[in-house]
């Protein structure tokens, strides 16, 4: 199987040909708010794919082993486990309801037969253990097969229980609950490369946790001003470096990224590096400030680069250069003239995520009308694809879509005014090794694969 998309293709070409693989979720037009997917994440091997939704549920899909009789058909993802991670809560002190919506899921590297993941809502992070049980003990002395206790006086002989195979059961149990550490809404969690600690970030603070310790966390960033009326920016995302366990970055609502080194001081309020692109005065507009807010930051797998997503673009930064990004990709520049309408319908506040492919040669992010965009960093080519039921025939190739920005609309193009802004793709994930992508479109999860030539 081709690895990162370059294997079986003509030399020099990194073109993907994406085909529909699967879609998960109900087809109803009426979407229940609780079913809206709020996060998608592959685990380290890519065999497991987790989704979280607004109803506080986590659904984990597992990739089936490849079928030898159909070598060209890669493994499908089927439901492996479903559980309720978070429930709605009420903060009596502030008279506020705490939403059960899962903001982020992050997998831990697998260390034994069980799988572990962290899931978080606005206030509480939970460590879940997902384990398989395929045997059960039979022949207990003190209880019957159906579990009823036996009358001790009736027991006349002793036997050793034996393990018998049973239908596979996948159990999810909460192993740790990390609560009461965040006053503001948690927007990110990130597992450290030391596999022992992780960070959680809210609007104003970042805390460092040890996976074994739930009653204590260290505050490593605090940007809360003494006088809240002087607040000018909030933290929007944070992530640990993939290899250097002392380095993490956090992005702000002002479009800046700060890289911090935990070795320099206990409280990392002073950054080690500060990434900011000077604003282009010609593109300054009424809504400039809010569209420059960074909604997601992701390190490349190599650790050399990081990518940020703001409302209209994706930027790739070289960690060695703070003055400006090395690449800027426009996601939907045609929306720049529509910012006022997007402010009216609240779309301007949408927080899009972005992701790298396994080899860091391509990046992907979502847009409106169920469109998502892919940028090939080597060939400088980009493509717009759509996640729709219409193009959901097995192994059907996805046709590139095009948005017409003005003038004559060509056939197959869609005009900006026809875009459905209720169909937004905020969450996407790319398999860590293969060219398999998961795209969350409201309550549906689409899985696409690259066709092997």
């Amino acid at each position: 199987m081709a690895g990162a998309g370059g294997g079986g293709c003509p030399a020099g070409s990194n073109d993907f040909q994406w085909c529909f693989s699967q879609v998960k979720g109900a087809i109803d037009e009426d979407v229940a708010e609780a079913d809206i997917i709020s996060t998608v994440e592959f685990n380290y091997s890519g065999d497991l794919l987790a989704t979280g939704d607004k109803g506080g549920r986590v659904v984990i899909f597992q990739r089936e082993q490849e079928n030898k009789s159909r070598p060209h058909s890669r493994g499908e993802y089927n439901v492996y486990s479903t559980f309720q991670s978070h429930e709605p809560e009420f903060d009596y002190l502030k008279s506020l309801e705490i939403e059960e919506k899962i903001n982020k899921i992050r997998w831990l590297p697998q260390q034994n037969a069980a799988h572990f993941l962290l899931s978080t809502n606005d206030k509480t992070i939970k460590l879940w253990k997902i384990s398989e049980r395929d045997k059960r003990a039979e022949g207990y002395n003190l209880k019957d097969e159906d579990g009823r206790l036996r009358d001790p006086f009736r027991i006349t002989a002793l036997r050793v229980p034996i393990l018998k195979p049973m239908d596979l059961m996948v159990e999810a149990s909460p192993r740790r609950i990390f609560a009461n550490a965040h006053t503001y809404h948690i927007n990110s969690i990130s597992v450290n490369s030391d596999h022992e600690t992780y960070l959680s970030a809210d609007d104003l603070r970042i805390n460092l946790w040890h996976l074994e310790i739930t009653d204590r966390s260290f505050n490593i960033v605090d940007i809360k001003p003494a006088n809240m009326e002087e607040l000018t920016e909030v933290i929007t995302a944070a992530e640990f470096h993939p290899h250097q366990c002392n380095v993490f970055v956090y992005s702000s609502s002002k479009g800046t990224i700060r890289l911090c080194d935990m070795r320099s001081s206990a409280l990392c309020d002073r950054h080690s590096k500060f990434f900011e692109e000077p604003e282009d005065p010609s593109s300054r507009s009424f809504f400039s400030e809010i569209i420059s807010s960074i909604s997601d930051v992701k390190f490349s797998h190599s650790g050399r680069y990081m990518m940020t997503r703001d409302y209209l673009s994706v930027k790739v930064w070289d960690l060695n250069m703070e003055s400006r990004p090395v690449e800027t990709h426009q996601v939907h520049e045609y929306l720049r003239s529509k910012l006022c309408s997007l402010y009216e319908n609240d779309c301007i506040f949408d927080k899009f995520e972005c992701c790298w492919n396994g080899s860091d040669s391509a990046i992907m992010t979502g847009s409106y009308n169920n469109f998502f965009r892919m940028f090939d960093r080597d060939t400088r080519r980009d493509v717009t694809l759509e996640a729709s039921r219409e193009s959901s025939k097995p192994r059907a190739s996805l046709k590139p879509r095009k948005v017409c920005t003005g003038g004559k609309r060509k056939k197959d193009e869609i005009s900006v005014d026809s875009l459905d802004f209720n169909k937004k793709i905020l969450h996407t994930a790319w398999h860590p090794a293969d060219n398999v992508i998961a795209v969350a479109a409201t309550n549906n999860l689409y899985i696409f694969q690259d066709k092997i030539n």
Partner: protein, 223 residues
Amino acid sequence: MEVQKEAQRIMTLSVWKMYHSRMQRGGLRLHRSLQLSLVMRSARELYLSAKVEALEPEVSLPPTLPSDPRLHPPREAESTAETATPDGEHPSPEPMDTQEAPTAEETSAYCAPRPAKVSRKRRSSSLSDGGDAGLVPSKKARLEEKEEEEGASSEVADRLQPPPAQAEGAFPNLARVLQRRFSGLLNCSPAAPPTAPPACEAKPACRPADSMLNVLVRAVVAF
């Protein structure tokens, strides 16, 4: 004029968004509030600069100092309150005027400093001339409301001479609530306990009144 209207429309819209965001599940979102306040500030600056251009020969404006971005709802309410009408140079109206209809006033805020205290004194004397004992308590309340309205406006310059806030025509209820809340808040002890409950971090309603601006902040937050 178009620019002014558009800026005003955006400010109105922002107030509504601020108001409705308080009803959302999960409570007030800090980031969103901050973004709304940034838009409000930009709209206000745009509105003011458009007004300056319109009124240039007549009025000399104090420099619009770069305001501390205020993330709280009241920033938006402030601006909306002050933007209703184009006319400047009117003396601050009686609070009762504000309740009846959006009258032209507030832009006196941007005129040369008005001695608010002096005008209050004048008014009180005119009221006491009426000789109606029943007016005295209400006079006090009205004065307080007026003072609050004056505080309910924009930035740094206004700390010195707070211009009266004007009830936005579209939000008569908002204005009435603000006025009610102000009088209540002014009676609050300024020495709030330093160890405020965590609730105060998200909602500054509990914090002591430092200035008239904070009064408005708390009013709308409570609202």
